[in-house]
Subunit: 265 residues, 2 copies
Amino acid sequence: MKNSIKKSPGLGIMLVGKRKDSQSFIHIKKKACEEVGIISEVVDLPEDCTEGEVLDVVSELNHKESVHGILVQLPLPSHLSEQNIINAVKVEKDVDGFHPVNIGNLAMMGREPLFTPCASKGCIEVLHRCGVEIMGKKAVVIGTNYRITHFLVIAETSCYSECGTCIHPEEITREADILVSDVGVPNLVRGHWLKPGVVVIDMGSTLVTDSKGSRVTGDVCYEEAILKASLITPVPGGVGPITISMLLYNTVEAAKRAYQWSEKS
Amino acid sequence: MKNSIKKSPGLGIMLVGKRKDSQSFIHIKKKACEEVGIISEVVDLPEDCTEGEVLDVVSELNHKESVHGILVQLPLPSHLSEQNIINAVKVEKDVDGFHPVNIGNLAMMGREPLFTPCASKGCIEVLHRCGVEIMGKKAVVIGTNYRITHFLVIAETSCYSECGTCIHPEEITREADILVSDVGVPNLVRGHWLKPGVVVIDMGSTLVTDSKGSRVTGDVCYEEAILKASLITPVPGGVGPITISMLLYNTVEAAKRAYQWSEKS
């Protein structure tokens, strides 16, 4: 794109407040952008800013021609409405895929969203890249966080279960050929929850601090699961990095659409 | 509403072409509107009208103050884009609940759509009115038509399965405490697919013509199912009429919002 039309994709990132984990996620995203030639721009707002101030920044980024994707780093401080702010992002720049129009088109059969949320897209991408056949397999998703992964899994397999707060989730998970966990509870999924040969995607990401220091942990007890699973994504280093790649992918797509440019042109 | 503010809710119905089943559905809807004091208005367009002509009618209904709900009778002739036409309906008047913003807000946790699609809302309403406990029950939905019922079922139970074109759907359905079928294949669900005591919601509706004449048939083999199920909705006469009621409900809601009126005021 840079060579042929002298333009680079641009990503606008908005951070409200000074959460350490958010700052660290943004640092990773900025670095990833640099590596592939996406120009990123971070707008920092103070913890106590008003919703009006945040919406003004969103509006500015919506209008800015060099910004093709907008990322609102979540969670926002509790006095701000996540819904109002995400709804204000232009659908064509919603590279996180969280605008209700994008979610709605993702959820409906036969519709195509402009963007698919990065973590969920990453989960399906991992399965494809590892050559896992999805169609006809029994897939189970634990956790009802936004339900986005579910739409994608449903779209690809025809036999799907979901358990949120079942009394005995292990009875459901033990039947799974593909198990996706997106709960945020470390070591929730134990070895006896798994069918031998299962493919496990661990989308959990929780910061745990103990005597060994701080580290990010998934939902799955990795040491036990690895004895049962045919394939498993580790945490950290599994779904996380591919989620970042999907953000870059969506940003490039947004820029290509904005400039009506494709690799072939 | 009529007594207190001298206003009646209004429903605009758009029919393109002369499909007999669509005409009959609209006749039923108009009659139901009359019974409860909703003023309905049907706009007929010829089978060969252009998308522009349909969009003009939608725009007119969007602006008309006496119309609070707009219903586009589906299916549309194949030369028209259902997506373009439904997306053009004002979200505040989308009493069918099919606009992507409404679907998106329905699909996302913690969001509230302005309207929920009538058939799916009706399905949950039947369960509530019959005193069926949903939470913690194993619910199975067959059929992936728009997936809307699924969001509602997911929201109420925590243990949910879906089967589309599974090779052996009966293995999944036999575990269901609540079974919803929304496929459109007469007699698909047989007695041996059911667990004794199951609650069956038959959302299928297919016009069958044979030596006994024409009639509407559900997905479930009623004669077999009634021997197993603790509760079952018949076709016709089950989910159909309650779907109409939900349309009236949504239309009244739309009018109440438009006039900022409530029973208490």
